[in-house]
């Protein structure tokens, strides 16, 4: 499996506040841009895999979008496992290509949640009478409140300070300051961070992903042989994993470790790589605390050491593990991990606005359902 497929095209619309643009308009633009980026034609595309928009979670999204694109395909899929979807869909596309089901797969997510319908979180998606949707009765309404309890326990367990959380936001903002596509580009200091107000302690506004963004991202996956002849340098799919712990915060372990500990092991094993081989990381930065825990799950630090590691500046350019080099979901846009994935491809191509010199191996994370699902992708510049 390792290195048999590659990401050959990336299409990203503008991100942020895009009044007058429907989700369909953004989604179809991203698909067109991705096909053009790969140097392919629409007639080459024979698979479509989509994640439904959070603001309008249509059951038949892939069918509807495929109709608007006028596609005939040899494979079709729609998936939603929260923020783990982007990486998991690329993994599925790679498996479908490798299994011979299709040749050129387009993976897509697009949203107009900023100017269109607000994102729905809660009962509509989690189900009537189910925990955690019933927990809204306790004022548990919104992602930061879900996450803050894990962050609190993690920080208490390992003596992680607020400065350590803040250093994640500061490093990622520095990257965003060089990215014209980023929503927040004003440089951020740790002093400004510490003056920022709490949403749900210990998380401040600056610890949380941008609430919602308009925009769309499409990714073209094809065989490595075919990718080598296309317009852009391939980002080879060297390894991936998708793991879950569906007990959520009912399980004490979920407060300090994610299923990413297992999905990354699967990805490393498939790729024949170790954490030491990774040059650059794109974490699922829905919250600063999520980044720290993922660093430990992925084996870059021992348990409890990610905070000091971040505080020393290791997540910035020139650090030991430059991360979220587009600014991530904290500063670039909240495309539910898809913008983070697109940046992973740019690093392998050498075209990031915060390029890590000679980046050969990039790891990309996805996390969904508040600790429930985690996906990991290893992209490489050279084939395995």
């Amino acid at each position: 499996m390792s290195g048999k497929t590659a990401i050959a095209g990336v299409g990203a619309t503008a991100f942020g506040k895009l009044p007058g643009r429907s989700a369909w308009s953004l989604q179809t633009e991203a698909v067109r841009l991705a096909i053009e980026d790969a140097g392919l034609a629409k007639s080459d595309v024979d698979a479509l895999l989509t994640a439904p928009p959070l603001a309008e979670p249509l059951l038949l999204h892939a069918e509807l979008l495929g109709g608007k694109l006028g596609l005939r395909t040899n494979y079709l899929s729609q998936k939603f496992i929260g923020g783990a979807t982007a990486v998991a869909l690329v993994a599925e596309a790679a498996m479908a290509v490798e299994a011979g089901l299709c040749e050129v797969a387009v993976c897509l997510y697009g949203e107009n949640a900023k100017t269109g319908m607000p994102m729905l979180f809660g009962r509509a998606q989690m189900g009537r009478g189910q925990a955690p949707s019933d927990d809204i009765a306790y004022g548990l309404a919104g992602g930061p409140i879900m996450e803050a309890r894990a962050a609190k326990r993690y920080m208490n367990e390992y003596g992680v300070t607020e400065e350590m959380l803040g250093s994640v936001a500061v490093s990622f903002r520095d990257h965003a300051s060089r990215n014209p596509a980023a929503t927040y580009r004003q440089p951020l200091t740790i002093e400004q961070y510490l003056e920022n107000r709490y949403v749900s302690e210990p998380l401040r506004v600056l610890d949380c992903t941008i609430g919602a963004s308009d925009g769309a991202v499409a990714i073209v996956v094809t065989s490595s042989d075919r990718a080598r002849d296309l317009a852009k340098p391939p980002a080879f799919v060297a390894g991936f994993g998708v793991a879950a712990n569906l007990q959520g915060l009912s399980d004490p372990e979920s407060y300090i470790s994610y299923p990413g500990a297992r999905s990354s092991q699967t990805a490393y094993r498939m790729a024949g790589l170790e954490p030491e081989d990774v040059d650059v990381a794109q974490f699922y930065d829905c919250f600063t605390s999520t980044v720290l825990i993922t660093i430990e799950d992925y084996g870059f630090c021992k348990r409890g050491d990610a905070g000091p590691f971040a505080l020393e500046g290791n997540l910035g350019l020139g650090g030991a593990l430059p991360s979220n080099t587009s600014g991530g979901m904290l500063s670039e846009a909240n495309l539910v991990g898809w913008n983070v994935l697109a940046e992973g491809v740019r690093q392998i191509r050498g075209s990031s606005t915060s390029q890590v010199p000679d980046a050969e191996v990039c790891i990309v994370a996805g996390q969904g359902g508040f600790h429930a699902a985690h996906s990991t992708l290893l992209l490489t510049r050279g084939a395995a």
Partner: protein, 147 residues
């Protein structure tokens, strides 16, 4: 005040479904019921349609002592949903029950600054409310054990 949250937000009450009916019925009798598996003895919260350890569907409950400790918590400072704006600051906490399982609730009856991980707490039952289908229930909440 935190105990008015369900009154503040339309539709914020839990919705009683078949598999959680016994749990919510218990709250009307001021009982905190932990679901148990007749086959393997597993104790689980929240209530579900089967045992999460062995998948058996013969499930009963034990009446919990109502005592536990704060496993983790957050002080909510900003109402993410505008309906909660009168309630902030309030504490959302995960309580580790003496019987083992962790449940999510509020910690009340103490300043939010005084809540700590490991703090001993006991359950109390808030005012009776109705869910969207007019089923009555009382939300279990937790307060520090004095002394």
């Amino acid at each position: 005040m935190p105990h008015t949250l369900t009154e503040l937000v339309a539709g914020a009450s839990p919705i009683v479904v078949e598999e959680t009916r016994g749990y919510w019925e218990g709250t009307l009798a001021e009982e905190l019921r932990v679901q148990t598996c007749d086959a393997c003895g597993n104790r689980q919260m929240p209530w579900g349609p089967c045992c999460t350890r062995c998948l058996a569907q013969n499930l009963s409950y034990v009446k919990a002592s109502g005592r536990g400790s704060v496993f983790s918590f957050t002080v909510v400072r900003q109402a993410i949903h505008p309906s909660f704006s009168q309630a902030v600051p309030y504490v959302v906490a995960d309580i580790e029950l003496e019987e083992g399982p962790i449940i999510t609730s509020n910690v009340t009856d103490c300043p939010v600054e005084e809540v700590r991980i490991g703090m001993p707490v006991e359950a109390w039952f808030d005012n009776e409310v109705e869910d969207a289908f007019h089923t009555k229930l009382r939300l279990p909440k937790f307060r520090p054990i004095k002394g």
